[in-house]
């Protein structure tokens, strides 16, 4: 391929398509346009050395976004600290109190153990929810009678307020981690069923024809068409499951046996140790953010094609 300085797969393919169509000059035109943009930036002194050229322009834009985000966070922390001037720190504490409290919880407190416990329960719950949810969703999509039978049941389960199931989990599984994992699974499974089912239906109208025209068997269809074709939807479901699963993780920790980050938050709240409480809450946020990040990494690295599908495009910014 004769693409000048094509640095990503996208530009390579663009170059390839231009080359294949035999249109000279189009590629140069594109570069020219981007150089013009870059020059416009340069005159305002916004660019560093590595931000020139087509790739540099993108980097400059990312750079701007990052700076804006960091400034907003710093401003938030500043305002929070300033509240100490007119508000009792018992209510929302201050960054200067929370930071040492977090340090104490981390070094000599229960935070690392609780974090790990909650993380494992969360991962376990969402993992089982994925297995069950994807399985049920696929079966519903492929077997018409199951679809008819299960659709009202799924709507029913999806509509049940999750907290109402907590006592049921205690009755079934006692007050240990089994009950907490089961609780997370029970509330995280619905988005996966619903989205997997929607994915199979989308594949049914389009990609499934490809399998049919080549004479694929039932299992070949599932393996080569339905399962991969449904993956973008499964990831959408998994993201929602992580969000509701995080609520289930804290709720389960608070209500079932008082353990993990949920238990820690309850205890610290009861003692009115606001600085430590806020530190613990921020830790739960970090845990959830970490899981979202891990899921996004999994998608981007193992299934990069998902971002090019319509379901994948809806999800990403």
């Amino acid at each position: 391929m004769t693409t000048p300085q094509g640095s990503t797969a996208g530009t390579d393919a663009f170059g390839a398509s231009v080359a294949a169509l035999g249109i000279p000059g189009l590629d140069e035109g594109k570069d020219q346009l981007e150089t013009t943009f870059a020059n416009a930036f340069e005159t305002k002194g916004l660019l560093t050395a590595d931000m020139t050229g087509p790739a540099g322009l993108r980097r400059a834009r990312q750079h701007q976004t990052a700076i804006a985000g960091i400034l907003a966070i710093l401003a938030g922390i500043g305002i929070w600290q300033a509240t100490a001037l007119f508000m009792n720190p018992i209510f929302i504490s201050t960054p200067s109190l929370v930071a040492p409290a977090l340090w104490d919880l981390l070094v000599s407190g229960p935070l690392p153990a609780d974090f790990l416990r909650s993380l494992l329960e969360m991962v376990g719950g969402v993992f089982f929810a994925t297995i069950v949810g994807v399985g049920i969703g696929l079966l519903m999509g492929r077997i018409r009678i199951l679809e008819r039978a299960l659709e009202p049941l799924v709507a029913f389960g999806n509509a049940t307020p999750s907290i109402a199931l907590l006592p049921v989990m205690e009755v079934w599984f006692g007050f240990g981690e089994t009950a907490r994992v089961a609780f997370i699974m029970t509330i995280a499974v619905w988005p996966l069923i619903v989205n997997t089912h929607a994915g199979v239906r989308a594949v049914r109208g389009r990609l499934a024809d490809v399998g049919t025209t080549f004479g694929m068997s039932h299992w070949q269809q599932i393996r080569h068409v339905y399962l991969p074709g449904t993956l973008p939807y499964i990831f959408v479901g998994a993201r929602i499951s992580l969000a509701v699963g995080a609520v289930g993780m804290i709720l389960g920790g608070q209500e079932i046996g008082g353990s993990g980050l949920g238990g820690l938050v309850t205890v610290l709240g009861a003692r009115s140790e606001t600085a430590s409480l806020v530190a613990a809450i921020l830790t739960t946020t970090v845990l959830a953010l970490f899981l979202f990040w891990a899921l996004r990494q999994l998608q981007a690295r193992v299934f990069p094609w998902i971002a090019a599908t319509s379901a994948g495009r809806r999800e990403s910014r």
């Binding site: 391929m1 797969a9 996208g10 390579d12 393919a13 663009f14 390839a16 398509s17 294949a20 169509l21 389009r206 990609l207 024809d209 490809v210 399998g211 049919t212 025209t213 080549f214 004479g215 694929m216 070949q220 080569h224 068409v225 991969p228 074709g229 993956l231 299934f303 990069p304 094609w305 090019a308 599908t309």
Partner: protein, 282 residues
Amino acid sequence: MSSDMTVTATGSGPRSSTAATPTGHETILNIENVCKTFFTTRRTVHALDRVSLDVRRGEFISLVGVSGCGKTTLLRILDGLDDCDSGTITLDGVKLDGVSHDMSYVFQDINLLPWRNVLDNVALGLEVRGVPKAERRARAMEALELVDLASVAKVPPYTLSGGMQQRVGVARALAIRPKVLLMDEPFGQLDNFTREALQVEVANLWEKLGTTIVFVTHDVDEAIFLSDRIGLFQPGPGRLTEVLDVDLPRPRTSYDVRAHHRAIGLRALITEHLRGAKAPTG
């Protein structure tokens, strides 16, 4: 109808299923009295009403009609993607039941699998048939060379332009070396320039390979440019009402289709026929 019209209507209605027609053409695909009705919750749609057609070996035949006249339904039934309610389809004398391994389908919305690269998409049909990996790679590569896309074999399909994607779609269909290639408005989603380029490419491929092609379109000029014969569909209920010969020399250019007097007469005839079919009711 003007007297110098060199277009001949070969009639319609049920035909004998003998392998050779009186004119000496050998039939490859025999379609006999095919009916199809769709039942939706709102209404009943008579998509196809007793459609009969003999497709000749090696010919390029287009099915033309307004939207909803049943031409795509017929193509899907030929491929086994849908079932017909009654009627028979025989390919080389063998009655078809379900999907045939000797026909392949080019989709309007292309439907490449985004998780496979271009080469593995083209090799899909061979993979399903259990062709060993090395051989199917080689044959898929051959098919890609036919559409001049060997250079993007390892690229994900979604990075290609629409026109290139549809060329991959054609290669995927050709890789299994079908006796009959079914093409369902394959260029419907492409811009004008790309569509014209691909029309030329398909015409060249057809001359080179000699594969029988059944081509569905609602673009009259496209049908005239590509076809040996054109079947005209009328909607409500969907019927094949006329089969016209396209008596234009080959190879053709898009200029022929715009300016050749026979093409002009043919276009007028088809347009008139389709205009009479405007109001699909019941």
